[in-house]
Symmetry: C2
Subunit: 215 residues, 2 copies
Amino acid sequence: MAQTLSRRGLLLILSSPSGAGKSTLARKLMAWDPSIRFSVSATTRKPRPGEEDGREYYFRSHDDFKTLIRTGDMLEHAEVFGNFYGSPKAPVEAAMLAGRDTLFDIDWQGGQQIRNSSLGRDVVSIFILPPSIAELESRLRGRAQDSDEIIAGRMAKSRDEISHWAEYDYVIINHDIDHSFNELTAILQAERLKRDRQPDLSDFVRNLNREFEAR
Amino acid sequence: MAQTLSRRGLLLILSSPSGAGKSTLARKLMAWDPSIRFSVSATTRKPRPGEEDGREYYFRSHDDFKTLIRTGDMLEHAEVFGNFYGSPKAPVEAAMLAGRDTLFDIDWQGGQQIRNSSLGRDVVSIFILPPSIAELESRLRGRAQDSDEIIAGRMAKSRDEISHWAEYDYVIINHDIDHSFNELTAILQAERLKRDRQPDLSDFVRNLNREFEAR
């Protein structure tokens, strides 16, 4: 069924430790419903070769970024190793008003800030857990030839991330990517079917009543 | 993924005006997941030819029924044309404890009573709307050769039922039965993935942490 036009888009927050399958799920979800907008983060770090402004990140100067924070134009932000990262608010609000959902691939700190923001009541948050730590580590090692030290750092960060699973609305244990993807789309479908997310229903029922009266 | 054993089953309430497709959806859902238990109503009306005690209804005497109400053994009940109808509580509680969901095919009055019962926090309620009243009437007329008077009575009841759509968690407009069925299963899948409906997650994450520590 077509989405109703006046529907407010929702904010879909996907978090997980790195290696649990979050980015694959996000990519599949964007392909499944191209109306979903992916929230591109802004950052003060320098672009790497091949990165494009507005695709991987919005690249901003420190001064610009601080202004955006001060003026309330960042939905969430964090400082990591001297660089700022954050989610610009304006494109999210524009998507919401157009009835488009926005997908956030962010960590628990970003998720917490968005939930506590003025747009918090439109947040649907999903945490992806790995089936085991052995599996998580093997996925991390399989990706690249990183040193044990780098892997150890990622594993420590994963443990910290996992400790926040209980702040999320839904939890998916990613045993199998296709099964998990099916669960992810079920959550999105269900959230869109919630009565209070279908503002056009009142008009729809009003028309049914007119039909009753005209019989 | 297998359901966790300690999960408490939920109470899935499906309501709609007669002719909107509710019974077809209920039947398909039971076939889709045979672990779902259909809540068979109790009634004081006499069995019709072909009806079996415990299948269509639990047939009870007026005295027995009144006792069940008095002892709090009815989750909801109503009197219609001198006969009682209601949902026995014990089999629902037994299913819940066994981690099985129970499906209720009941009207808004029953739904309201169950939502306000001691089991209310485990209720997920879904209202099925017809695409139009013309379509609803044609489905009602297509079913049987009923008199215009009987049809008129059903349509009045439908209008009353529809007026309660806003008391439900989810609303599905049944344009197409396959599409609506897909939406219904999405709702059930999503509800089962809610963090607070997965009591075994705490243990699961505790085991992940043990794995971290053992590295």
